[in-house]
């Protein structure tokens, strides 16, 4: 039974054998030994041994394939022969390409099927027994690929080796290389499972051997197996690096000469470089993983650590960091991929590990690494700002007061970073200055040939100048020194544009003198190699102002800083002239060139900004020449600001600090206006005119105790001082012809109200704070007096006595006068200077009333008149106003039925002031002018008498400017009354009034002596 079973087994075996041979892969039947022997002979000799003729390439290849299938011992020879076949095909292929395919596919197509056949056989073998075939075939294929690609690299159709894509396209379109590539991929896919290191090693070796021409293979393979290839390539590179490094007694020596000493690292870089285009993510991950694992070798971080062996050896993970540095140094791509995330990885625990690891290294090796790291940082095209911040953060000494974003690092780590940072600065310094030396030093050699060297780190930081400046200004211990140094380097590197930006930023961001000093330090350093820095910086600031890129706070700070800079000039003048003085002067002159740009800032909505602006303007020198348009604009702005400042002072007067600031603003404004007025006749006129207009302006009137006659409560409005209220008068006039119910007279609307409706209701206006009003009036007068007395106009010489106030300039006073007239009395009819007889005044009742109301509404007019009077003969130009006022006063006193003039206080005051002004202005001789002293003691009627005398005098002796003569010893214009008619005629009524009230006026008699 056993036997039977065995028999059946045997049958099974034989059937199995039969099955096997039938399922044998070669289509042809198995050859006999004899045939095989013949076949081998044919193969060797290339001659068909049976027929005795030469074999064609194709037949020869077929023969080889048959041998490959049947005679294992021929394997090597067959593969070697096939190399030739592949080579032949590639040659033919390229030849065809070169011949532009005019011969069609003659030879190549013949071989193409053979190649297809070979490919089929090989891939079948690999599929059936990968372990045996894959190493063999992969070695063959990769070597052949290398050989083919370098052999045919010089062909005309072959693209240059640096255009990888074209190369790839060309070779993949060639059947031979494509099939080799496919075969190789198949092998690799099989081999990666059990010996990944070996196959990548082989790939790298070949890549080194056939360097640039073989790159397309690596690129293709790499993109087919990105994950494995990347990590393998890295592992191989590290291993190689490590072994070479230990041989060379110092790992970093190779960093210096990048020659052939480390053959593999070059191709590692090349390969990864190719892969970086599509797989930069995985490359980055791998590199970072390597870094992390080198720090924590024992941690089971990577799932693949079992298969990769590099983690196991301590020597390897010690070499990992130098290796990574080296890689990064050789390939900007890789460096760029890693650098961004590396900084994030360097958290304190990692830093500690790193330090622990590096402590073990010898000194010179560390130095080399440091040098390399510095080189890398300076060459890093992106992320420089983050690196810098990290370094500065880590290197800043721990402090109790300032706690940085990260907790205080370990002391050793800190020192390391400190050292790194200093070396970096030194390195950059060398780079920057050598560079400019190279270009400037010998222009004959380098100017044309060598463009300026680019330092990517600085290149990138150029866009972070603002942040750098802000960091610097924090004045944190050592940090600001580093950063300041860096700023200098950056400015030198980047040239004027960066330098001005830096300066500009510093000027904008500095908040106190110490911080501002950094700006001057920067300037001092840079001034040696750059001219015109400050004007450029100011220009830039102005540009920023125009584009509204600065917020109010920054704007204010900028203006204040500029002001401080200019003011330092004054201080320097007093003290010893330091290096800043010239700079302060430069700032001053630069600012003065842009005054018209700063002018609008006076009216900035933010009080702080306008305050800062006025400070700057008040201290900045004025330009030598300027266009009238700019001047006018500026003066308008300055005046407007003045009133604004007054208003602010009034509003903010209660609170201490703001009040002080407002007060200072007013002072500055006064200073500005006076300096401005002194600048030129034009500005004087403009300033004075606008001051007067502004003082009378509705919006500002209340500052000076003015009351605007607001008649909004009345049913119909009356003509008013202000044109905008005139609309209602227009209304009335429109209704004039259409209205039916006249109440008897056309003139039913009067100033006092509408007939039949009683007096107009006066609105209660809030009386402003009298002391404030007085202060404001004082300020205004002071400004105007200062403006008017300044020597800008027709160059009157300064007085000999400095204590004596300067005389009011006549021209300036005339401007005030004219402005007053224009504002008080818009009706120009009867505007001549000479006075008519008193009776004619009734023709101008309307205007006169208007004038009086104006004076009522604006108490500030009298002081202004006094100013005008002081600037003889300017008061002459106020003739119309004076006349109008006097006429209404005459009317008042005539109609008054009071017992004493004191009973109408305003009129009394107005009368007194008017007469005294006319006396001061020398419209009246002193005898007549003195009558105002008597008014308070008289009855209204008597006042009228005296005023009539005044009127008569003026009518007879018209207020003409030509009657005034300049007296050089006084520096004033004076009027010689003796040339006019006899005064006595007009003094008679005075005397009679005196006479009548001698009891009360006795003490005044001497005033009226002729």
């Amino acid at each position: 039974m056993l036997q039977g079973r065995a028999m059946s087994v045997v049958f099974d075996v034989s059937s199995l054998k039969a099955m096997q041979s039938s399922h044998s892969l070669s289509p042809q039947t198995a050859l006999s030994a004899q045939e095989l022997s013949q076949e081998i002979k044919s193969f060797i000799s290339g001659i068909d041994t049976v027929q005795g003729r030469k074999l064609s390439v194709r037949e020869h290849a077929r023969c080889a394939v048959r041998l490959l299938r049947s005679v294992p011992a021929c394997r090597g020879a067959v593969l070697e022969h096939l190399r030739g076949v592949y080579d032949e095909h590639v040659s033919a292929f390229l030849h065809n390409l070169e011949a532009e395919g005019d011969t069609g596919s003659g030879v190549s197509s013949n071989l193409e099927d053979i190649i297809q056949e070979v490919h089929g056989v090989l891939s079948e073998f690999i599929r059936l027994n990968p372990r045996a075939w894959a190493p063999l075939v992969s070695a063959w294929a990769v070597d052949l690929l290398g050989q083919l690609s370098s052999k045919h690299a010089g062909r005309r159709v072959a693209p240059h080796s640096c255009s990888l894509n074209e190369l790839l396209q060309l070779w993949m379109s060639c059947a031979a290389t494509r099939s080799l590539m496919e075969t190789y991929s198949q092998c690799l896919a099989a081999m990666l499972a059990w010996c990944p290191d070996a196959c990548v090693d082989a790939l790298l070796d070949t890549s080194v051997q056939h360097s640039p021409h073989f790159d397309w293979v690596v690129a293709h393979i790499g993109s087919a197996f990105p994950g494995t290839i990347i990590s393998r390539v890295l592992a191989c590179g590290l291993k190689d690096f490590c072994s070479h490094g230990s041989k060379d007694q110092g790992l970093m020596v190779m960093g210096v000469d990048k020659g052939g000493r480390v053959p593999k690292i070059g191709s590692v870089v090349g390969i990864l470089g190719h892969l970086a285009a599509h797989h930069s993510d995985s490359i980055r991950k791998e590199l970072l993983r390597m870094f992390q694992e080198s720090l924590t070798p024992s941690s089971p971080l990577s799932p693949t650590s079992s298969s990769t062996s590099w983690e196991s050896s301590p020597q390897l993970w010690r070499a990992a960091i130098p290796f990574l540095l080296q890689l990064a140094a050789m390939s900007p791509n890789l460096f760029g991929a890693v650098s961004a995330e590396l900084v994030d990885l360097l958290r304190p625990p990692v830093l500690l590990q790193l330090q622990a690891l590096l402590q073990g290294l010898p000194r010179e090796e560390l130095d080399n690494m440091l040098g390399l790291a510095v080189h890398l940082i300076s060459q890093s095209p992106s992320g420089g700002a983050r690196v810098l911040r990290f370094l500065a953060d880590t290197a800043t000494p721990a402090s109790v007061i300032i706690s940085g974003p990260t907790p205080a690092p370990h002391e050793g780590v800190r020192e390391g970073c400190d050292r790194l940072l200093q070396m970096l600065l030194l390195h950059l310094h060398k780079l920057v200055f050598n560079r400019s030396d190279g270009v400037e030093g010998n222009p004959h050699h380098s100017a044309s040939s060598q463009p300026q060297r680019v330092i990517p780190f600085l290149e990138e930081l150029q866009s972070h100048v603002g942040e750098l400046c802000a960091e610097t200004l924090r004045l944190e211990r050592k940090r600001h020194l580093w950063l300041h140094q860096l700023l200098c380097l950056l400015s030198v590197y980047g040239g004027p544009s960066v330098a001005t930006e830096a300066l500009c930023q510093l000027l904008t961001q500095a908040r106190n003198p110490e911080e501002l000093a950094l700006a001057w330090q920067l300037h001092t350093t840079l001034s040696s190699c750059m001219a015109g820095l400050i004007p450029a910086a100011i220009c830039r600031c102005v540009a920023e102002i125009h584009t509204h890129t600065l917020g109010p706070k920054q704007l204010r700070q900028l203006l204040l800083n500029l002001a401080a800079a200019i003011q330092s000039q004054d201080e320097e003048k007093r003290g010893a002239a330091g290096p800043q003085s010239s700079m302060a002067m430069q700032v001053g002159s630069a600012v003065s060139g842009h005054l018209h740009d700063f002018g609008p800032l006076l009216l900035h909505g933010d009080p702080a900004v306008s305050h800062a602006a006025v400070r700057l303007l008040s201290c900045s020198p004025l330009p030598r020449t300027s266009s009238p348009a700019h001047l006018l604009l500026l003066s308008r702005a300055a005046v407007t600001h003045f009133f604004l400042a007054l208003q602010r002072r009034g509003e903010g007067g209660k609170e201490g600090r703001e009040g002080g600031q407002a007060g200072e603003a007013v002072n500055c404004s006064v200073l500005l206006l006076s300096r401005f007025a002194a600048y030129s006749p034009l500005t004087l006129k403009a300033v004075v005119q606008q001051l007067v207009e502004g003082a009378l302006h509705k919006g500002n009137a209340d500052l000076f105790g003015g009351q605007i006659a607001d008649m909004s409560g009345a049913p119909v409005s009356s003509p008013s001082v202000f044109p905008d209220l005139g609309a209602s008068l227009l209304d009335t006039n429109c209704r004039f012809g259409t209205s039916v119910n006249f109440s008897g007279s056309v003139w039913s609307v009067f100033h006092a109200g509408v007939i039949g409706k009683g007096l107009k209701v006066r609105t209660e206006t809030k009386l402003p704070d009298p002391s404030g009003v007085i202060q404001n009036i004082q300020t205004l007068l002071a400004v105007i007096v200062q403006c008017c007395s300044s020597s800008g106009l027709n160059g009157s010489q300064p007085p000999s006595d400095p204590d004596e106030p300067l005389p009011i300039n006549a021209e300036a006073a005339k401007v005030v006068a004219v402005t007053l007239v224009e504002n008080i009395c818009p009706d120009v009819a009867n505007g001549e200077l000479s006075w008519p007889p008193e009776e004619h005044a009734r023709t101008t009742v309307e205007r006169d009333i208007h004038i009086r109301r104006c004076f009522e509404a604006h108490p500030v007019l009298f002081p202004l008149l006094q100013v005008v009077a002081a600037g003889r003969p300017a008061l002459c130009y106020c003739s119309a106003v004076l006349r109008g006022l006097l006429a209404t006063l005459l009317a008042h006193w005539e109609a008054s039925r009071e017992m004493s003039s004191i009973d109408s206080p305003w009129h009394l005051q107005a009368t007194c002031l008017l007469v005294s002004c006319m006396g001061e202005g020398q419209l009246l001789p002193p005898v007549l002018a003195n009558v105002h002293e008597a008014f308070p003691h008289l009855m209204p009627f008597e006042v009228r008498l005296l005023l009539l005398a005044v009127w008569e005098y003026v009518r007879a002796n018209g207020p003409m400017p030509q009657k005034f003569v300049f007296s050089s010893e006084k520096g004033l214009f004076c009027r010689d009354f003796s040339r006019d008619g006899d005064v006595a005629r007009y003094v008679a009524p005075i005397h009679s009034v005196l006479h009548k009230n001698i009891d009360r006026l006795g003490h005044l008699c001497w005033r009226f002596q002729l």
Partner: protein, 454 residues
Amino acid sequence: MGDIRQSLLPRDVLSAAKELLYHLDIYICNLVQSGRQPPQVDAKTLELVEEFILHAPKDRNAPARRMSALQELQLLEIMCSCFQEQSRDTVRQLMFSALFSLQGNQADESRMSLLGKLVSMAIAVGRVPILECAATWLQRTHRVYCVRLAQVLVDDYCSMVPGSVPTLQNIHSTSPRFCCQFITAVTTLYDLASEELTPPLELLQMIVSWIHDDPRLVLITFLNTPLSGSQPISSLDVTPLGGLVRWCVKAPLAYRRDKKPALTNGSTESEAEAGPLFSALHLSVLQVFMLLPNILNEKGLFGRLALLQMESLAALTSDLSRLLDQADKHAHTSSAETHVLSQLALDRLAQALQVAMANGALLCSREDLRAICSRLPHNNLLQLVLSGPVMYYNNIHTPPLTFSPHSAHSPIASHPTHPAHAPHTPLATHSSSHPQYTTQPFMTGMPFPFRPSH
């Protein structure tokens, strides 16, 4: 012979090798004709061979000359025809050994590699003389190298080139001697100790079919070799019997173990295919044992030459007990199956022991057997064998207790020091009494001459 070096030096690699071969042929012919005994190739010539054929670096400075694969193939082809055309056996042998006998130097690596290719090619193109020479080489060389050669051939024909198994299969007809040595080497190589050391299925099928077709095949070397003292130490066994017994006994457990780690279809399939093959092989082995008494008697060696040695048996039983222990440990799930397989292994062991002892292939006492089998678990058949009837029933020609214990244990016993006993004795009278055992079914009821009657 040494003086031709200067003329060889300027030649290219291939023609230098060709020329040297030519000169070597002449030289050896002269040597043989001169009748000097023993014919010995001098050292100078060996050096030339190493330099110009094997391309061992002569000294460190000289650049190593290498042949391309094509040139090597041409050389191989020339060698093939050279051996083929040489009619005199002695010359061939001398030449072969001049080329390929190991010298223990650097050149041995390239020698082995060239030899592997040559033999592989000879198999492919059926060059009998080379195979004969290789068979001799396999007899004389240390087993480590023999195993390497076998490995090359197995790789070439069983794994690398699919469909080339039939070519290898042919060697049993072209050169049975080589085939026998090949089997010995293969069984030495694959001791089933691990997965790598498990023979490929194709190889197993081939060997099974060879032995099944011709059981005498395994004895050919033994039959054709004059047992002389020149048998080198550590060479292969004279017969593959020991290795084959090991295969059959260990197979059930070894294949089972293979299945364990990877439950892929492939391994179970191979197990399913391999199981019957080993059964058949076991049967064949037993049949070969039964051929032995006649042959041994013819040679006058019965009871004096142990073809199965105690050492290898002891190693086998200890391996087996280890495997059984392992099987027990891992047999939580399929203990029934495990039990069946262990019993199969033990059964086979018992059968082999019994048959070997009975046929004079194993020379030892039951005591010795009990000693080496003491650690094995219980098996009925083994128990019977171990405690069985005395062995002088085994052979009527030999008086009992002829075997001294020392002859069973000392290597001297397996290689008798007296070649005087070796000469072929006339054919045993029993040879005719064992008609056609290959076709004779082994049935329990059948009378069996060597079977002790109970």
